[in-house]
Each structure stands twice: as structure tokens, then as C-alpha cells.
Symmetry: C2
Subunit: 458 residues, 2 copies
């Protein structure tokens, strides 16, 4: 709880209309896509970095937590105010400040919806590649906090690869600019890349400078259906091994296919056991040639049917199926543990085999889909409330298998709350100690988003 005098001070900073303390308002800011919840003591909706700095200075003086929040689409509890305090909602800072068509740069505030930025730059022949599945709702600031990946990461990389510079409010209140507007700079430590993916624990990004690319001239999309997921995984690996770099290479297993087909009431696969969705981009000729080559490789790897999207509508239909997986899964079970493990590409078939064994052992339904191109598989343990303990045991076994194969327990969701207990499985004590020393150095009073990333975070 905040003292009334503090509520008053916060109201002076952001204006009375932009500070909420009523339970019915607070509840809107209490959860994210993990379905974890915790009520904050207050929600502030600042309009500028100056206001954020004032709030953070107050928090240091009075020692209350400050939890930055975008749209609440996070997958690891990063924006859930587990220790109360003030949620800093960046919803009012939602302007695209600049699109520089000569230098291929955009400058935006953190509350801008990622899909809005994409559309805006595409209308000018430019391209912002990071493409989280939630791009219609998620914010650029949230993407920066979590280093969001997405469907095109296999070719184009993740959010970090596009952030050139940031204006950041540090946990001690200073407002800094981390970089120039250039694609290169090595002036001192790379605070930009340290901030991206730090899950709101090291700073609040208040202005985001991103690199843009020329919009690819042409895109071709094709789907392939396989009898089983092992064949599909092998085909994905083969495509990459042949030196083809698709802009998307998505794998969908049988359970996910059935869930989507039921959800959309459409028979997409004619009963197949797995699907690969592949998209190549580039010039008209290159994409034609690459699409043919991809089709050949997939047939050779055992595809029973290839479907090429011949129109924008057909392309949308294929992608809508992919994007419908997450909601569709809730028609199977009321809850899921969604783990975004990542393995070296050539190990996808191995990890799927391991997951299958773990599912059988625990008598759980585990649904797999995701970014086969970069080895990032979304493995969803589907449960009723009562299954939670055995689901957690299964998750731990999946993480252990992932790490044995040279992988990481999170490719794009972050540690947050959901994976804090598992971080020590991946990062050794020396690495975690170094991370904690950095946190302590930049946030001595542990103001910003406490309780995340580290277990028993002080």
C-alpha cells in the first residue's frame, strides 16, 4: 500500500487523471499472458521520460517497487507486479516520432503497437522485421524489454538486432541516451544491448531508435504436410543445410494441427501428422527459384502434399492458421505451460523425440509448434489445474533435455517469473553472480521490477 501522501505526490507528477488506485482499475494491470496475477498498489500513466524519472526518484526515496508495463502480452510474467508497488503503464507514450526514409531509421515511443509501426514503415517501402505473433497488440517497449523474437527471426534476427539506441530512465532516475543514430558505434560499453532483454529490471526505455530495411520486393509462401513430425523436423533442417534462408520456417505438430482445425472449423491438412509453413523473400526470380527448391527438398524429405499460396488471400489463410494456434489450444485444456525452448537447428527432431517420451511418462498432452528455422520450439504442456505439479516436473525434464542438446530454456519469452527457478539450470553460478552484480550496481535499492529473473532476488 502507498501512503496517501505518496499517492498525492504521484498525482502531482502525472496528473490526477493518470494515477489509478481503485481496485477495479488496478486489476487491468495485474496480469500478462502467463495468467499470473498480482495487484499493484497504484498505476501511473506518465507522458514523458521526465515524469518517469520523477516517479523513480520518489521510489528510491520511499523504497517502493516500480514495474514498467507495455500491453501485458508477455509470456513470462515480466510485467506482473509480484511485489506490489507502482505499475508504470507506458500506454500514453505511443507516438511514432520519426521515420527517416533516407537513413532507414524509425524513432518511436515505447507504447507504440509493433504492428502499427510495421504497417507505417511498410507504406513507405521500408521494413521492420521483428514480428512477434502478438504484433497486433504488443508494444515496441515490451518487445525491447523482453527482446521479442517472432516469426521472421530465422532470417532477420530479433528485436535486439534492430535497436540502435534508446533513451532510458535508469533505476536511479537519470535519463540517458545510449547511442547515436548510426548502424555502428563502439563508444564505450554497449548499454543499448544490455538494456534490451533486461525485462524492465535495469531501465525504462522511453524512446526507441530502430534500424529499418528496404521492404523485400516479393514474398512466396508454401505449406507442406507430412505423415509425422520427425519428417517435418528433418525437412526443416535440410532446407537450412542446403543454404536456403527462408524468412519464416514454422513447424506445427499433429496435436496443434487438430486443435487449429477444430478451432477454425476447417480441414487444412487432410489428416496429416505435421505441417511446415515456409516463406521466402527477395526478388521475384530468387523467390521463385527458392520456393521450387524448398518444395523439392520437402518432397524428398517425405512431404505428402505441398500447398503453394497463389494469392494474398491464400497466404493469409495459411498464416491465420499458424497464428490461431495459441487461442486454439485453450479449446483442449483450460491451462497450458508454454515453454519457448530453443535447440540448435539440427537437434529439433531429437528434442521432439525427448518431449514425446516425457509426455508419455507423465501422461500429459504436450503440443509443439514454433520456429523450426532457428530451433525455437513452443512446447505447450496442456493441463487442468490439478495437473500443475506433474506439468512442472515435465517442464524441468524438457529443460534438462534442451540443455543437454546445447540449447537454451528461453528463446524469446524471457525469464521473468515463470523461469526464474530454472535459470540456474542454464546459467552457471558465475554468470548469475555477474548479472546480479550488474543489477546491484545500476539499481542499488532494487526499485525496478524486483523479484524477476533471479530466484529470491533481493
Amino acid at each position: 500500500m502507498l501512503k496517501p501522501s505518496l499517492v498525492k505526490e504521484l498525482k502531482v507528477i502525472v496528473g490526477p487523471a493518470n494515477l489509478s488506485t481503485l481496485p477495479e482499475e488496478l486489476v487491468v494491470y495485474s496480469y500478462d499472458a502467463t495468467q499470473r496475477e498480482a495487484l499493484p498498489w497504484a498505476v501511473a500513466r506518465p507522458a514523458s521520460s521526465g515524469e518517469i524519472s520523477e516517479i523513480i526518484l520518489l521510489a528510491n526515496r520511499e523504497r517502493f517497487p516500480v514495474v514498467p508495463r507495455g500491453a501485458g502480452t508477455g509470456m513470462s510474467g515480466g510485467s506482473v507486479p509480484i511485489r506490489g508497488g507502482v505499475v508504470l503503464s507506458l500506454e500514453r507514450m505511443n507516438s511514432i516520432l520519426e521515420i527517416d526514409e533516407k537513413d532507414f531509421i524509425a524513432v518511436a515511443e515505447p507504447g507504440v503497437i509493433t504492428g502499427d509501426l510495421q504497417r507505417e514503415v511498410e507504406s513507405r517501402g521500408l521494413f521492420y522485421p521483428p514480428d512477434p505473433a502478438s504484433h497486433k497488440f504488443c508494444t515496441l517497449g515490451g518487445n525491447v524489454a523482453e527482446c521479442a523474437g517472432g516469426l521472421r527471426a530465422v532470417k532477420y534476427g530479433v528485436t535486439k538486432d534492430y535497436v540502435l539506441g534508446l533513451e532510458v530512465v535508469l533505476p536511479t532516475g537519470e535519463i540517458i541516451n545510449t547511442c547515436a543514430r548510426t548502424v555502428k558505434s563502439v563508444a564505450g560499453y554497449d548499454l543499448t544491448k544490455l538494456m534490451v532483454g533486461s525485462e524492465g529490471t535495469l531501465g525504462v526505455a522511453t524512446k526507441i531508435i530502430v534500424k529499418l530495411l528496404p521492404l523485400p520486393e516479393h514474398v512466396r509462401t508454401l505449406a507442406a504436410f507430412f505423415n509425422d513430425v520427425q519428417c517435418a523436423a528433418a525437412a526443416a533442417s535440410d532446407i537450412m543445410a542446403q543454404g536456403i534462408l527462408p524468412r519464416a520456417l514454422e513447424l506445427i505438430d499433429e496435436a496443434a494441427l487438430r486443435a487449429v482445425e477444430n478451432y477454425l472449423k476447417k480441414d487444412l491438412s487432410l489428416g496429416a501428422g505435421a505441417m511446415l509453413l515456409v516463406e521466402v523473400d527477395g526478388s521475384v526470380e530468387t523467390t521463385a527459384r527458392e520456393a521450387d527448391r524448398v518444395a523439392e527438398i520437402m518432397v524428398h524429405a517425405g512431404a505428402v502434399r505441398i500447398q503453394r499460396a497463389e494469392s494474398a488471400a491464400e497466404r493469409d489463410q495459411l498464416w491465420n492458421a499458424r497464428r490461431a494456434i495459441s487461442p486454439a489450444l485453450y479449446t483442449i485444456k483450460p491451462k497450458k505451460l508454454n515453454e519457448d525452448i530453443v535447440v540448435p537447428r539440427s537437434k529439433i527432431a531429437d528434442i521432439l523425440r525427448e518431449i514425446n517420451g516425457i509426455a508419455k511418462k507423465h501422461e500429459l498432452l504436450i503440443v509443439n509448434f514454433g520456429h523450426a528455422g532457428d530451433g525455437n520450439i513452443h512446447t505447450n504442456i496442456m493441463i487442468d489445474e490439478a495437473d500443475f505439479p506433474k506439468a512442472e516436473a515435465a517442464a524441468r525434464e524438457i529443460f534438462a533435455a534442451t540443455l543437454r542438446l546445447g540449447g537454451s530454456i528461453t528463446g524469446e519469452h524471457g525469464i521473468g517469473l515463470s523461469k526464474a527457478a530454472y535459470l540456474p539450470m542454464e546459467a552457471g553460478p558465475g554468470s548469475i553472480a555477474a548479472m546480479r552484480r550488474i543489477k546491484q550496481a545500476l539499481d542499488p535499492n532494487n526499485i525496478l521490477n524486483p523479484g524477476k529473473i533471479f530466484v529470491n532476488a533481493v
Copy 2:
């Protein structure tokens, strides 16, 4: 000076043959490409991360500086042991440990020559894009320490974009692994990217995991000659603005052209006032089309002659001219200040105009060449010993102009010694304070490479 007992302890760690204290041996490790010099007290040539950890633990106990060193090709004094101490030469740790053709990953020790790694992966149809001009001599470890850029950064990015993970010995002696072998991972703070470009002040990389790409199928190279450098700069900007992303886009001004022609005793330019060297890669068809389009754009921007490399020999000839600039410049004057400023691409013509004015004002010859594609210009103030003070004044004015145009004072060389005095022109006090807090948190005794990056670094 090291106490004899410490020399003895160091000899036990690395073996007597791998510890030098004789002045004639030390002098070899005293300088880098900036021609700055300082003698270390000893040079240790460890063979493993374990030995490095032991040396660093000893340094913390006895409080002597440890200065990591690759091949000494650095451009900012990063490896010069300005405060004495022990130079940690990584020359013996020079094995390519693994090239994984399925997962497009290489694992190498820090002493591997970058060009050797490039050649080795290319022989297997793979590609390691970072390409510093010194690739025949520089080491991967040095590239990691400085976040080396190079000729292909315009399309492919810099060293940081390829480093997936590191084994690092921290300044307190712990050996950590910063990442998985996957192209994605967001498990905790990004220690990998914090280490890359930290100039040997935050850790010693002892194993380097890099991402590889498929080797592009085809490359086409062309040169264009212009009457003046402003036209050439405008042409470079036009190429990018048309949505073409060449793998290299190098600008060479008149003074650099004349120096190279004298040095190579060849008339390349037939008296032209500037040259652009452009290289596109991709499929045979795409490169043919892009090369034609590039030629058109350059003619439209005022190119007086286009020369296409029709054979590997012709391509080598063009690149040899570009790579000969640095040595050629020493035929003009005995010394140079080589500043690697970077501006937004569209501002190249502006910065060249500013530099021209500054050169006239100080009556200095300033030679410009470099990576027009990413705005990274190597501006070389050519001097005799006596000119040093006015060259420093000119450099400061060039940095001020660069920052006014939205640029950075260093695109790829790093701060080191050479630019420490200028870092506060770019990074505000809040940013520098945050960097110093990180340094203090990870290296409380200021063991690793002290005196670099920060002025009066404690």
C-alpha cells in the same frame, strides 16, 4: 615491476617458456596500430582459460594490471599496457575447435586469425561475414574485444552480430559461459553482447562461438569514378535509398586515390577525384540485376567511368587498391590520426564538407575513405610530429561536427586510449556513470586493462 616471487608464480602457471620479462621480448608486446607504446612488466602466454583464471586471481591478490592482447592490430590503443602489468598474449590459444556444418556454428579460441577462420569456413560453403581490413593478421579475440566492423558491415553487420556465446574469464577470476549454441536466447542479461566491444576491460574471451551463414552463391564487384567526392557520397546514399543493400560500398577520396596510385605505381582512376567500390552478392540473377541498377544509379549521380570486375583477378586488383590505402598514406606523411567517425548515411556528403573546412582552417591534409554504406568514414589527419597539437584540435572539431549530424565518434575502432578524452563529447555523464558502475561491479580491483575507455579511470 613485478617482484621476483611473482615472476616465479607466473612461471609456474604458464610454464617458464611462456613468460617473458626481458626488455627485447617485452617490446614486441608494447604497441598497436596507433603507434602508441608502453612496456609491460611481463608477458604471459597462457594455453587455457584455467591458466588465465589463475593469473587473474594472482593479479587481484597482488594488484597488478592484466592487459589482454591479440595481434596488436587495434586502432585505439586498446592492447597497449599503459600502466604496465602483465600482458596476456593469447597467441597460443589459436585453434579452430569446431565447425558445425549443420547448425552453421564455429567455435574458436581467441588467438585464431580472422582470415584463417574465414577461409576455413568458406571451404565448406559457409561464411563468416565480419571482415576487418586487417583480417590477414588480426585475431578473433581482438575482434571480439573491440567489436570489429569491416568492409561488409553495411549488409552483414559487425562482430557483435555474429557472436552467439563466449567462454569468459571475469576480472575476478571466475570462468563463465555466456550463452547456448543457439541463435536465440534470452536467459538473463546479455553478458555476451556486454563483453563484445568492452575492450578487454570486463573479461577475457577464451572461447568464441560464432554464427555462420551460407556462403553467397555469387559476388559482383564494380568501381565508379567521379569528378569529386561530394558526387560519390551522393551516389552511395542513392544506392541505399533505392533499396539496394550491397555487401560493400566503399568511398575513396582524391588524396587517398593519389596515395594508392603512387604506392602501387598504377593509374587506377585516370585522374578522377573520387572512387566508389561496390560489391553485391546473392544469386547469379539478382547480382546481375543489382549490379546493372547500381551502375545506372552511379552514372545518374555523375560517375564519369564505371569499371566492372570481369574476373577474380580484376576483383582482387580493385580490392587490393582499397586495402593498400592504409600503408600508402604513410608515403605522404610519417604520422596520421586515423579517426573512424560514423554518421547517418545521408549525412556523408555533409561531414565530408565539414572535414574539408576544418582541414583548410588548420592547414592540414585530411584524407578520407571508408565504409560509405554504413556512414563509417575513416578520416586520416596526415601530420609530421610537430603538427600533433593542431591535429588534435582538428580531430575535436571533426568529432563535434559528427555528433551534430547524429553520428558517433567511433564506428569500429573503440575508445581505448585514443578517444578516452573525447568519449564525454558523445556519452552523457549519466551513461558514463552507468558504464563505470558496471566496470566497478565486475572488476572491483580494476585489474583488467586499466586506464582505457574512461579518462582518469581509477
